[in-house]
Amino acid sequence: MSATTCFKLVLSLHYYLDLIKIRMVAVTTSIPQPAVALQAGSVGTVARFNDERLGSKLLAMGVLPGSRLEILRAAPFGGGVVVKIDDHLLALRKEELLCIILK
């Protein structure tokens, strides 16, 4: 096998792995859990979404598989939460958080 074929193979493998990730098949080493199970202050890594409608919007807002997710605080009156995604802040409702599955 020549070096170029090998390189191409690795590239396409990488590409298909990504596709699989998106296709909502968990490619994880640990047991996946929804982000909503996290306590304020704890950190996780985004793996995938279990709802495509919310997932598509979250993706567009910069929540990506591999993003660092930290729960900062809950809203008063039992509302949503503030999460830190990489280096910016998002306000999410509970059900919006529920669709994020962590590694």
């Binding site: 900062l72 605080r73 503030v82 280096d87 306000a91």
Partner: protein
């Protein structure tokens, strides 16, 4: 459709929310901007002219709503898609100025790659260069430009640095060939997408693949497609098993995969955590479970205190000016119908509009200041849960607060709410928040309910607060009713970016205030002036010679009672309005409102108030003919206090009547301008009519209850 023919070159200003887009737009256009609406919807459209040296055509800048991708979830964001993918669209730009925040470049490029794939020439603006440099963030613009196949400009919207370079790039772009070589797409189409694109190309004029892809995704709502085209596309998608949501996720992921390495190569240092640290510290207080809401209500109290306290002086000045001007005009033109219609009709109406400018200006100054700092997004977050209980969205809080000044801009601000049901409920209930137009009515009437000395001088203030709270209670109760009546299958989102706290750009605040004041004067002013003239006609004319007879009667009475000149004039005016068409209308109305404790004179004021509430005071002034003493609220109140019921001899404005009238004004839909805005926002007469009926019914029943229990 015919191709557009114009001598203008249109740049669209686009970017993600919070990228500093409006700061850039305001810097480029200043006061040379106009605010209108995108056709068919009431999404605000800002257009500004700019001067470019040697430009062959007039250069226009159109500010588009902030959006994250070309997969919209609100009406705001849809505008971007529909104007960008349809070359015949009235707002289709010739080129795009894409604004991205340097420190957030890794996220902000998503929409840029989509726009680039549509085939639109674009300049990438890296904004907030000053902040980035302070944080030790450096970016290689040339490398980025080469990788993205687009000119890249680094600038700072705050300091004004880099704008010359942007203008130069704009100028170069205008001279560039119409069909530049097409760079590769930022993602690879799937088999299903490729099949759909091929089929769409046969049926519709399509320039680029991505344009066809977006047509497939959004066929359901794109306004330029016909119903036949819509069904054809739907069948096509099914035939190729094209799943829109799945395709969206795939596409977005691929885009990130392609541009993330580009950004990493161009960034010479990774962004630091400094700004978020600072923001998180402040959020610890402002978003605290207990302190957060308390601080919010504290701030709102301050805002309202400011509106009341600061606005008094300019309002007195404006009122004084119009009283003087009216007198001067009458002196100049003498007596006659022309001087009367000018002074009592148009000038009085104009004064009634302009007097609200200080309050509106102060409210929007403070609200846009809070918005600029980044606080308003936090407010939406704090109250989202509560608002959801009542069928609304956290974003509704902003509309409800603005409703305290005027329902018109408040209702216009609901367009950021993506969910139709939540937006509609917010629109329907917002006019029940006591707006500034109710203040003069409250001021005149409150004295009949609570004396100035009550509760150590605090009584009237507390009563005022009570009226506001009554309105707020009405808002939430009727929101609940609507929540259970309205059905929807649409999704509701919060998903809100909380921007880092920043010092406000005063130019932005100033321009917002200027815009809102101008919109109020022009929009509401037109209607109020027309109504004022109609009112003047109704009050100045009567059937046959009834007015002349009323005057003769009055003169006789004045002679026998030896009244002086002023008193005679007042008596004539009072007798004449009784005999006029307005008086006749009021009397016809009386049986319906008698159970509420109102007489025919109040009836006239109610009729005229359906145009606008603030007309109440003016109408009272005319009916009780204190016109000669000016539009002073106190003199009207003194005159009203003397008013006796001709049958019983008791004061007309008893405790029960005054309270009943106050409650009526809290709930009643008495603003034609608001109804017009609701019609425009909901695109149907159904909702404003329903709003009018339910608010009037609520007002009637509440007043009936008050008067029957206390009267």
């Amino acid at each position: 459709m015919p191709a557009r023919q114009r001598q203008e070159f249109v740049f669209a200003v686009v970017g993600n929310p919070n990228c500093g887009k409006s700061t850039l737009f305001n810097h480029l256009t200043g006061l040379r901007q106009k605010v209108g609406n995108f056709p068919g919807v009431t999404v605000e459209k800002k257009v500004g002219k700019i001067r470019l040296d040697g430009a062959p055509a007039e250069v226009l800048l159109v500010d588009f709503p902030g959006t994250y991708s070309l997969y919209p979830t609100s009406q705001d964001e849809r505008i971007v898609v529909q104007s960008f993918i349809h070359p015949q669209d009235e707002n289709h730009p010739d080129a795009v100025i894409y604004v991205a925040d340097v420190s957030r470049l890794a996220k902000h490029l998503l929409l840029f790659t989509q726009i680039r794939d549509l085939g639109l020439p674009a300049i990438l603006v890296l904004n907030m260069a000053d902040v980035a440099a302070r944080e030790g963030l450096h970016i290689d613009a040339d490398q980025l430009s080469e990788a993205l196949h687009a000119p890249v400009v680094t600038l700072s919207g705050r300091t004004g640095e880099g704008f010359d370079l942007l203008k130069l790039e704009m100028r170069l772009l205008m001279d560039a060939p119409a069909h530049p070589p097409k760079p590769e797409l930022f993602y690879t189409l799937s088999d299903a997408e490729r099949a759909v694109v091929a089929e769409l190309r046969e049926q519709l004029p399509v320039q680029t693949d991505f344009q066809a892809v977006l047509m497939a995704h959004h066929a359901e709502w794109l306004p330029f497609l016909t119903d036949t085209q819509r069904t054809a596309i739907a069948d096509m998608l099914q035939g190729h098993s094209f799943v829109s949501l799945r395709a969206q996720v795939d596409e977005i992921m691929q885009r990130y995969d392609r541009f993330t390495p580009i950004v990493q190569r161009a960034l010479q240092q990774q962004p630091s955590d400094k700004t978020t640290d600072f923001t998180e510290k402040i959020d610890r207080i402002l978003l605290h479970r207990v302190a957060g809401p308390l601080i919010f209500f504290g701030l709102m109290t301050l805002v309202f205190q400011a509106i009341f306290a600061w606005a008094t002086y300019p309002m007195d000045l404006i009122e004084g000016f119009f009283t003087e001007a009216g007198g001067w005009l009458k002196y100049l033109l003498g007596t006659g119908w022309l001087s009367s219609v000018l002074a009592d009709g148009i000038l009085a109406g104009l004064g009634g509009v302009l007097v609200f400018i200080p309050q509106i200006a102060i409210l929007f100054f403070l609200i846009s200041l809070l918005e600029e700092v980044g606080y308003m997004a936090r407010v939406a977050f704090l109250f989202d849960r509560i608002m959801q209980t009542f069928g609304m969205n956290g974003r509704s809080v902003v509309a409800l607060i603005s409703g305290g000044a005027c329902a018109i801009p408040a209702i216009m601000s609901t367009r950021t709410i993506g969910n139709w049901k939540e937006r509609l409920i917010t629109i329907m209930v917002t006019p029940m928040i006591s707006c500034s137009a109710r203040i003069p009515v409250y001021v005149v009437l409150i004295g009949f309910v609570v004396s100035a000395e009550a509760l150590g001088g605090w009584g009237q203030g507390l009563a005022m607060l009570g009226l506001y709270l009554l309105g707020i209670a009405g808002v939430f109760l009727s929101a609940l009713v609507f929540k259970y009546l309205l059905r929807t299958r649409e999704h509701s989102f919060l998903m809100l970016e909380l921007p880092a706290y920043r010092t406000p750009v005063l130019r932005n605040v100033g321009l917002t205030v200027w815009e809102k004041v101008r919109a109020f004067v022009v929009e509401a002013g037109k209607i109020i002036i027309v109504i004022s003239v109609i009112l003047w006609a109704l009050a100045s004319y009567g059937p046959g010679d009834s007015l002349a007879r009323a005057e003769a009667d009055a003169r006789e009475v004045a002679l026998t009672n030896q009244l002086d000149d002023t008193e005679t004039k007042d008596l004539i005016a009072a007798r004449q309005i009784e005999a006029s068409y307005a008086g006749i209308l009021g009397r016809a109305f009386e049986p319906a409102i008698a159970p509420l404790g109102f007489d025919w004179k109040i009836g006239i004021a109610l009729i005229t108030s359906f145009a606008a509430r603030e007309v109440f005071v003016g109408t009272m002034a005319t009916i009780y003919s204190v016109g000669s003493a000016g539009d002073d609220e106190l003199s009207i109140r003194e005159r009203m206090a003397k008013e006796r019921n001709p049958v019983t001899g008791k004061p007309v404005y008893s405790f029960a009547t005054a309270l009943s009238l106050l409650v009526f004004y809290v709930f009643a839909m008495q603003c034609m301008s608001t109804l017009a805005v609701v019609k425009r926002e909901t695109k149907s007469w159904k909702w404003p009519i329903l709003q009018f009926v339910f608010m009037s019914a609520l007002a009637y029943l509440a007043s009936l209850l008050v008067y029957q229990l206390l009267g």
